[in-house]
Symmetry: D2
Subunit: 321 residues, 4 copies
Amino acid sequence: MAERLRDIAHVSAVELFSPVLEETVRFFTDQMAMEVVDRRGDSVYLHTWDDYERFSVKVTGAATSGIGRTWLRARSPEALERRVAAIERAGLGEGWSKDEPAYGPVFHFTDPDGHQLGVYWETQRYVASDETRPSLKNQAARFPGRGSNVRRLDHINFLARDVPQAETFVSDALSGRPSEQIVLDDGTKAAIWYTFSDKSYDVVYTRDWTGSEGRLHHIAFATDTREDILRAADVFLEAGIHIETGPHKHAIQQTFFLYVYEPGGNRIELCNAGARLLLAPDHEVVTWTEAERAKGQAWGLKTIQTFHTHGTPPVAEAEWA
Amino acid sequence: MAERLRDIAHVSAVELFSPVLEETVRFFTDQMAMEVVDRRGDSVYLHTWDDYERFSVKVTGAATSGIGRTWLRARSPEALERRVAAIERAGLGEGWSKDEPAYGPVFHFTDPDGHQLGVYWETQRYVASDETRPSLKNQAARFPGRGSNVRRLDHINFLARDVPQAETFVSDALSGRPSEQIVLDDGTKAAIWYTFSDKSYDVVYTRDWTGSEGRLHHIAFATDTREDILRAADVFLEAGIHIETGPHKHAIQQTFFLYVYEPGGNRIELCNAGARLLLAPDHEVVTWTEAERAKGQAWGLKTIQTFHTHGTPPVAEAEWA
Amino acid sequence: MAERLRDIAHVSAVELFSPVLEETVRFFTDQMAMEVVDRRGDSVYLHTWDDYERFSVKVTGAATSGIGRTWLRARSPEALERRVAAIERAGLGEGWSKDEPAYGPVFHFTDPDGHQLGVYWETQRYVASDETRPSLKNQAARFPGRGSNVRRLDHINFLARDVPQAETFVSDALSGRPSEQIVLDDGTKAAIWYTFSDKSYDVVYTRDWTGSEGRLHHIAFATDTREDILRAADVFLEAGIHIETGPHKHAIQQTFFLYVYEPGGNRIELCNAGARLLLAPDHEVVTWTEAERAKGQAWGLKTIQTFHTHGTPPVAEAEWA
Amino acid sequence: MAERLRDIAHVSAVELFSPVLEETVRFFTDQMAMEVVDRRGDSVYLHTWDDYERFSVKVTGAATSGIGRTWLRARSPEALERRVAAIERAGLGEGWSKDEPAYGPVFHFTDPDGHQLGVYWETQRYVASDETRPSLKNQAARFPGRGSNVRRLDHINFLARDVPQAETFVSDALSGRPSEQIVLDDGTKAAIWYTFSDKSYDVVYTRDWTGSEGRLHHIAFATDTREDILRAADVFLEAGIHIETGPHKHAIQQTFFLYVYEPGGNRIELCNAGARLLLAPDHEVVTWTEAERAKGQAWGLKTIQTFHTHGTPPVAEAEWA
């Protein structure tokens, strides 16, 4: 068997759609401690304080919520070539784009579920201004001391009509390694967590109960401590941001979590993994059964119902219930 | 230029020498929450609760303190082959060993400073007993709820007579990437932090002020939170363990740290990086000058004098002062 | 109006009944980091590491769960006299007892709901042994570094058939000041939080939905940090202790909480108030309505159903449902 | 012996002098998360988010740093009468004032060292505006989610030429109870910590090495968690605020601390006591010797030299060295 290389370095940025663009931007700046680094047309680019690239989130005004493109950085020029070739083999390539000024050439593609992605090598670094220059030169921007102080984008959780179809693609075309998964009693996979890195996951696919395609479950930002997440809960409470569930600890992946809906409707997670990493290069996927899932989260919290019914863009219940 | 691959997955385990073997073992079990998993001859093998392999530390009774071998796991069989070839090219290979029952064949070598290392692919997983079986199956052993609750081995900091010599070796033979370094006013490098992974460092080389070779500055264990480290300080205080410095935050690498001496004399660090990772595949090394170092640690703590004079095994001051 | 003095210093200790005495004791020693300081007959006395008196909990073997006596320390000999006189006026005094060797004379009484209490002035200090002597002489015992590391007994929450009856007694006879309360839409009080100190509550009365008398909702222990409580959740998970709800933050009193059932069935809370104190000597009681209660806890967690149905000793559902 | 009552409820507010008024105000608003609630003449009134009264700090523009008046709230009208009588007996009363609009009549006095104080009963509550109204009605103002998020004023540490003289006054006239003290080898007291409440200290007197009178060592604000203090250290680092020492844990009183100089020069402490309270009504003062003090702070940090040489207003070294 050919040696499997880790060709994707990390998830770089995600484009979110919002019907209330400026409210969503204020959520990211005020409660999520991010900085507006650019505005182009209907889009606003935001940066967390320790992402090394120019932006972490692109929010675009739209009729409804949901996601646009998700960007992945290749680990090297050679890795980019390999991934482009593999994506082309899968028949899902869409060609090169130079639309994003913060990146060099980006190869556009979709996953089998229709989520838009892009992979690239060349990138621009975040350059601090006088206002955002950090005291310690080994971090990207000044520590904000504001709201939840999330450090960096952590992962994205897609909803997918057909998880097994996504499985083949993420594994073969993107070199993702599954770390944990839910397998239902009928043998089908309801969710798979993939890692490209030493983090225990970077991209997650969860079955879309509506049968829709291309939707978002949530994007997540990492905080340095669990206390940051407890503090964030107070911040969201005071700001009138809807807290869906948490803070609590997931059984799967053991992530300490808090889920909120940003004003545009997209679910946002704040997550902390402690010192947990997936250092084993030959990690065997951990499988969770329906019975195990029924136990709820790590410390016994029952999984909230909306966790299974809220995705973006919304789908009218009549269309699937 | 050839594509640089990440051939080393992580530092797996370290052998420490102790003149007071059982006291050192009690330190690791009682204050560091580790489990004795094996005893062979004069050696005791200990495991932190979330290392996936059989052991994290091997303590061997000896006349004095210091380190024996440091084990590195290759990322794949092919990666192991590449590293063995590169080490052989550097003329520092010592051949294959099957001495450690928890590993398959280990290729023994030294770095240019004489530190003993080993690299391997085949390994045995930690298998939980009834007493150590975790409630959540995605962790290695039961959460101990004892002492400092360190999760896993994090890194090793070697002292070296000739840091630049080590630099070439770690970079070329081990595929290490420097992430941060101290460059003195005379242009020489006093310390280099290397990473094999997405953590910002795995192995550090610091100039040995005594001109000795093969010595240890410290080994470090990661905790999930900074609070774990604050709690550990109380635990060490109550146990009569010498706290050298901390808790505080390093400027370099921004690690939240606490340094103690285990009863045998070796310096042990407890470290927490928060959500800080080195996700950039093309990270440029961050250089710290003498003037910057003189500012002390991140929040202003002056670097304690013993940090520059205590290494193991000890060297009589007359031999170098 | 006569000056109201604070005649009760604090809740000192509580007697719990357990049908599985030794399991309950192990819960308190292993997960709650307490020390067995005495055994007399069927009773085991336990001490948290920073209570200055001899014991914090007395566990007595019994046919079922529930509470025995709750001890209150008077603030001075004069305060004790005043309280005894007031209790006698209320017709609930039972006379002096010398049964507890750790206390001087204790005046026994009940509240109108039949809970047994005692108030006293003379007490014995906790005296550390060689094994429990702390490094810092301004704490009672050595920091245990074990389990949840609760620091001290914090409060008791009684169930009462008739909360208004208790209200008059606690206010007049015990000099308790109400800090927060729940008033139902029909004007009746469903719960009142009382303080004797600068803490925002020491004793709570909650309506017993079964119409029974003399039962316990929970007793609570204070931790130094919220992180201690998050860690405790892992400790309880690993030990197979039933976690009822939490960790989360109450809206009422804003306490960060975790509720578990000790093996004998009694509900135990771990609580943290941060730096919140009730420093205002003329604090006006904060009233919560049914509508406000329906919102759940501070960050939106729905109050778990068993919170309204589990008390000790148990009452068969047929008797009240 | 007459019953000792606790006639002072707490330290309410402190007036600080600053030669850079607006910079000092920005420090309090931006890094200390306080709100400007009033401006009168050269004075700016600031409020921490959970103080129930109108203000916590009054900053007055002046030629140099230092303190003006310190306000103490009596526990009742009767307590106020008793304290005024006792202060008059000590010959240090200065009469009633109605200068502060947030208070009713304030009885002005000095301690024997010349620090200006005031004691009062009537006060105005903090009233939240639309911008500062909290989501939970049992806290004074909205949780700021900014900078260090200190919750409330905690204590004041005076420098005094003659600590024993202060001792008699604080004990007799103010009903303060000493909780801990430093007694030098020659038998003189170098510092005494006094409490009026269940907190382990509210006012501290430390010998002024310069022989000056009426100076300030520091004022302190309580945070909910130790993590808040670690976060504050980053906030101060980024804002260019001088960090003098910490974060670390004091041996005396065991306070987790961080000391900074506000831009006007006054030393400000952020402090956290965890769940530590002084619940014993008959607490015996804990005495620390010179030898014990020489060990440094709880976890071994050497006490920084400026801790013994910096007070405000400054005294030229020539005048005392």
